[in-house]
Amino acid sequence: MAKSKKSVNLVQAPLRRLAPIFILPTFFAFVIGFVWPFIQGIYLSFCNFNTPKDAKWVGLSNYMKVFQDAGFLNAFKNTAAFAVVSIILINVLAFIIAYALTQKIRGANLFRTVFFMPNLIGGVVLGYIWSMIFDGILKNYGTYLTANGTYGFWGLVILVAWQQIGYMMIIYIAGLQALSEDMLEAARIDGANGRQTLFQVIIPNVMPSITTCTFLTLTNSFKMFDQNMALTNGLPSVIQDGAKINVTELLALNIYSTYNINKNYHGVAQAKAVIFFILVAVMAIAQQALTRRKEVEQ
């Protein structure tokens, strides 16, 4: 034991000394690109500013405005609904496809590649392409994508599902392939039918993959921006109960458009962004805790 520890030290000691060389550049990049703007962003959410140079402290008034904004609440509802629908849809479909493609079928590798490909296309491009596809289809029925909120919402769900299923599928495939043959064989010998094998053996054992995938889909749907902007840009834009609402707008897009109202809204957008961050962080941590508990020791 002592000997092995010493040999580790022999290798690690010079590495330790060199550690700053490896850590510092990334650390500074992280501070400059993340920590600093983050702190500045929180500070600015309490300010009225046009450029960050001329920020004036205004206390909580930006936050008050956020909660009086019907558009923000609408965007919040949209985002929550969108997250629920897309998490379920993407994960269920991705799991089914992964399950199918880990069975011995001809051309499984080809299918995997094809299903993964949409993920390689950028969100804005996808948004514009899909808006053309949807409009092309809806044209035959004398209507169009931004005619009402329902089309826009489901359009976005379809787009995002199409884009992300392939990625989640890869994660599930990795999880499924890691299952030991012995365990499945044992289940078979014990007389478990296909359904029992799936729900009581396979799913509990790919729980780590499910944790990862739900985490990714959850944060992805909350942070959804490009696709939302390119597909509908929040339209249709209507007046409801004396307030202006962009029916298909999600949170990130709402923050973006708030910033552009005028300089008095820069701080409000910043406050929304802080709330948005807290929201996403809390959701993600809660979700992690929840699904982690279901994971089983292998």
Binding site: V31, V35, W36, I39, N50, K53, S237, I239, G242, K244
Partner: protein, 455 residues
Amino acid sequence: MKKLIAMLLALAMVFSFAACGGTAADEPETTAATEADATVGTTEAVAATEEAAAAGRVYYLNFKPEFDEALQGLAATYQEQTGVEVKVVTAASGTYSDTLTAEMAKSEAPTIFNIGNMSGLKDWDEYALDLTGTDLANELTTDDFNLYNENGELKALGYCFESFGIIVNTALLEQAGHTLDEITNFESLKAVADDIHARSAELGFDAFSAAGLDASSSWRFSGHLANMPLFYEFRDDGVTEQPATITGAYLDNFRAIWDLYITDTAADAKTLSTSTADESKAQFTEGKAVFYQNGTWEYAGLLEAGMSADDLAMIPIYCGVEGEENAALCSGTENCWAVNATASEEDQKASLDFLYWMVTDAEASAVMVEQLGAVPFKAAPESSNAFIVDGNEMLADGKYTVSWAFNHTPNVDSWRATVVTALAAYSADPTDANWEQVVTAFVDGWAIEYNTVNG
């Protein structure tokens, strides 16, 4: 290891304090000092800034992407002639306010920037130098396009203006047996358009090109066409500042002209929301439509697309308002120069000198006219743009300019989006109930956006 972590944390703290210092500075004047603190270690950059400042530098943040190339050329010529450093940066289309905000926060901020309208002036008033009485301002031929703040200071100077109306393919019009002279008001426009539409199968073309409501095209209607009811309402009510509410008194006229656009056309009104600007322009340039609502800026593009200058004319938009026989084109601008008041005096002077050179130097002003069309400066030569010539003729005949009333629109993009949504729904199903939605978007939407912006 612990030492290292402690060191890193200490560094992180220093950095975040520097960040706070930079942002907490209330007065723009003090920021140069704090920024210098924040960039310890890059002393070279700081020194370079000071050196340039001594000579006076020009940083022109350009608003018009189509002007970029010519402007870069002018800047290079000026730099060659005078040795003054002129940097021109053009913001990507539709991102000007984002770019301006970001650039203004830098230590080498733009010295010349664009202010589009009164609400833009409200945002940037503190950053704009009072241009009253400068040599540059004295070169102007008209005060119509300038922006003044509440204290009556000239803060932004309209350096070119544009006009819009209905572009006519006169060759097709004559082929259909009509002439431009026939069209003097809404009734005569409708009569001609209806006739052409009725015989479209026989003629092989229709009256109006598609009134597309796709984002690339919708501004022609939610912005430009909507200017008609706004202009006449403001004229009647003597409105000169952004009003908190509007009445929509002329929305029936707006409906009349919109109905004409979506009826006397080959385009399917049900799917206008996806119809793009390119489609509409193509219908016009390919000779499939006689009328095409757009502005003077389209002239070069139409010639490039193979149209003949002799076949192009621009007439005012008519919508059935009394006395509109005497209306000229809708003229205005979103192009106003402002000089950065927070820049050093040398930079301000260098910038004003550069702009003065642009509008007085013979070659430079020729480039301005060629690129920008109507340029309201004494030294500017005559434009070759047929639409501008048409517009000038109308003014010479004593007709009244329809000014850009839409410059008063609060939270303009958002207001327009609501109007477009309602217009698209109305076009797909033109009922009175759906028109009510357009009226709501127009009138209630205005009040809501006004409260948003000023609340």
